[in-house]
């Protein structure tokens, strides 16, 4: 909603970013890959069981 310009505004300056370079470092894509690899994993049965248990509790 409120994209507060003060906080989101101009970057503080390049001093801080000399190690990071401009834009995303090489590993940034890997970080997403790492995250997505877990997201894409099939859900273990323990979770399916838990979720269906929740349902039953709700019916009580």
């Amino acid at each position: 909603m409120s994209s507060s310009q003060d906080e989101n505004g101009p970057r503080k300056g390049p001093e801080n970013s000399d190690k990071v370079k401009v834009g995303d470092p090489e590993w940034a894509g890997s970080l997403k890959k790492l995250y997505n690899s877990v997201v894409d994993e099939p859900l273990p049965d323990s979770f399916k069981n838990l979720l269906s248990q929740l349902d039953q509790d709700g019916k009580k």
Partner: protein, 210 residues
């Protein structure tokens, strides 16, 4: 979580609301698992954490405002569960070596490519509040603002945490120099726990939720 200021009347949830809640909760489970794994490293503990968070979310479902982000809402719950467990030292000294070993000894292609396992290991050496900030923004795709809401801190704080996390990871990845003992070092661990106390201090409101 105990204080019920009846400032805002919580509407009765219809059956439809409840089934919507259940559906949305189910949909975010994979994301919760990914976030948790990034936070605590060990897949089994991460899953325990997610289960705990799911139960808490279910119990607190009346506080969820339909139409808002289920992912953000449940991340707050997961995060609080993680902080609580960390402060109880549940993960103490266990995850670092185990994770590194498990990942590094896994046959190529079966777990993660070497590059990813390096990254994962590097990620785990970051202080928790920087790690979570980077996970939220860099992996989870949250905006700085959303991440700030989840962590209950200022947008500027999140930006600075993400910036530091990025700088640390970049230098580790570039130099190929990833410390793997940091978390088992008692003084480092103490520092982390102290930081966690501070992080946790501001968490109540974000969780019990507006």
């Amino acid at each position: 979580m105990s204080k019920d200021q009846k400032k805002r009347e919580l509407p009765e949830r219809s059956t439809q609301d409840k089934s919507d809640f259940k559906r949305e909760l189910t949909e975010v489970v994979p994301h919760l698992r990914a976030f948790a794994r990034g936070l605590c490293g060990r897949p089994d503990m991460a899953d325990d954490l997610v289960q705990e968070a799911l139960l808490k979310a279910w119990a607190a479902q009346e506080r969820f405002e339909p139409g808002t982000s289920m992912r953000a809402w449940t991340f707050v719950i997961l995060r609080n569960a993680y902080l609580t467990d960390m402060r109880r030292n549940r993960f103490r000294g266990e995850y670092d070596e185990t994770v590194a070993e498990r990942i590094l000894t896994a046959p190529a292609g079966q777990e993660e490519p070497l590059h990813l396992s390096d990254l994962h290991r590097a990620l785990l050496t970051l202080p928790p509040e920087r790690r979570e900030a980077l996970l939220l923004v860099g992996a989870g795709g949250f905006s700085y603002e959303e991440a700030a809401n989840i962590c209950g801190c200022a947008v500027g704080t999140i930006k600075s945490r993400v910036g530091r996390a990025r700088a640390a990871l970049s230098s580790m990845m570039e130099d190929g120099d990833i410390p793997d003992r940091e978390l088992t070092d008692p003084s480092a661990h103490r520092a982390i726990l102290e930081e966690l106390d501070e992080v946790a201090a501001g968490r109540g409101e974000a969780a019990a939720g507006k």
